[in-house]
């Protein structure tokens, strides 16, 4: 029950951020991919089962919000949640470098997937490519800094030991 409440709360916070503060930044050309970031964090924290569930829920909500193909974000984010959750067992999840690389890769994949649906001809690919690269780098940098700040404020590791945690969560 606690997991479901946490999942819904984090999904709502991410979607609110996406439709308010981050949409203003996106209009200025800087996309911070909060969907990919939140999915990675949740999969790190709770393993592949909750990671894929979180990805599916937040992806479906984002699909409904943007009024485009239903399932577009849901499919990729649920797969991403599962993959990151599985991968996190073998990673030092509290390492800033690990977080940076995983968030960077997750955002890159998600942005490439989104861009594939917007691709409308060769003339537009430089803009889409630039957006994908900038979004990946910006989200990875901002996400890693945010996780570092939260870790400092809490005074303890955010994700705990990988193997022990994944056994209890899945």
């Amino acid at each position: 029950m606690r997991g479901i409440v946490g999942l819904i709360t984090m999904a709502m916070v991410a979607l609110l951020l996406r439709s308010t503060a981050l949409s203003t930044l996106a209009a200025k050309g800087l996309v911070l991919d909060v969907l990919a970031f939140a999915t990675v964090v949740w999969a790190f924290r709770a393993g592949e089962t909750w990671g894929s569930s979180f990805g599916f829920v937040i992806g479906l909500a984002a699909d409904l919000d943007a009024a485009h193909w239903l399932g577009r974000h849901a499919l990729l984010l649920s797969l991403m949640g599962y993959a990151v959750g599985r991968l996190s067992r073998t990673l030092v999840r509290d390492s800033a470098r690990t977080q940076f690389v995983i968030i960077l890769l997750a955002t890159l994949v998600h942005q490439l997937w989104s861009a594939a649906f917007e691709f409308s001809g060769l003339a537009g690919w430089p803009y889409l490519a630039l957006r994908v690269v900038v979004a990946s780098a910006a989200t990875a940098a901002a996400g890693t800094v945010l996780l570092g700040i939260v870790r400092r404020v809490l005074g303890q590791p955010l994700f705990g030991h990988a193997v022990l945690k994944s056994n209890t969560s899945s």
Partner: protein
């Protein structure tokens, strides 16, 4: 194959399979599912939270806006007086030429609760809906210019299809020359508003203002849309490629005004 995996992993794999299958089914059949009521539910749930998140930002912005508005008000008072005189003269001249009288717009103030869309916002959620008299098809403007058109209206809120939606089309004219075209949003080679369908023979200059023409009967005539910022020849060689900078700033939109859609042609005698 699942039998080789521990039960917990089997469960998570099965769950992932279910999510993937559901997503694929939605991707293939989503167009046929009525999504309007689902989005209405989502908007209803998120609207109170959107208001809370935006309140802090708006309190800070209100003080700054107030100072700017005071100055703007003084300038407008002076301009208004000049326009009033011109308006009386215009009415008299139109009567002499037997042209129909122009009517003003009734502006309904609303709050923009949220913007949604990939990279460039394509839709906005407004704080007013059918209960406040906002109907589908109503035009939405800011103090600077046209924002879009109400696409869906619920009881207490509504969704606006912005100019930056790929399916948006606005019948426009270039002010002062009357050159007609249709404003569309294009993603290639970069996100931009383009005035389409303008023949090469028509003269358009950078800096000219683009306003709604009213020819589509979707928007009232004379709403500012933007300014011409770049001119080129379309790859087809038949028409001009006219890039327009929108008058309304999507990244700063907080308040907007709803204008009732023009009456249908059949309503006129």
């Amino acid at each position: 194959m699942g039998g080789f995996l521990p039960p917990a992993e089997r469960r998570s794999s099965a769950l992932l399979g279910l999510y993937a299958a559901l997503s694929l089914v939605l991707l293939m059949t989503g167009e046929r599912i009525p999504q309007s009521w689902l989005r209405a539910g989502g908007a209803f749930v998120f609207a109170p939270f959107d208001r809370v998140v935006l309140t802090a930002d708006r309190v800070a912005a209100a003080w700054r806006d107030n100072q700017q508005l005071q100055q703007h008000l003084a300038e407008l008072e002076v301009e208004n007086e000049r326009l009033r005189v011109a308006g009386v003269e215009n009415q008299r001249l139109r009567q002499q030429l037997a042209l129909p009288t122009l009517h003003g717009y009734a502006l309904k103030p609303v709050e923009v609760l949220a913007l949604s869309g990939e990279a460039v916002p394509a839709a906005a959620t407004l704080s007013a809906g059918t209960h406040q008299g906002v109907r589908e098809g109503d035009a939405v403007v800011t103090a600077e210019g046209l924002l879009g058109r109400v696409g869906e209206s619920y009881s207490g809120m509504s969704r606006v299809v912005l100019l930056t939606d790929l399916n948006s089309a606005v019948a426009c004219e270039v002010e002062s020359t009357g050159v007609l075209g249709v404003l569309r949003f294009s993603m290639a080679p970069r996100p931009r508003l383009v005035l389409t369908g303008v023949p090469l023979a028509d003269t358009v200059r950078v800096g000219q203002q683009v306003i709604t023409s009213g020819l589509s009967r979707r928007y009232p005539r004379g709403l500012p849309v933007g300014r011409v910022v770049r001119l080129a020849k379309d790859p087809s060689g038949l028409v001009q490629d006219i890039e327009v900078d929108a008058a309304a700033r999507l990244s700063r939109v907080r308040q907007a005004f709803v204008i009732a859609r023009p009456p249908a042609l059949e309503d006129h005698p």
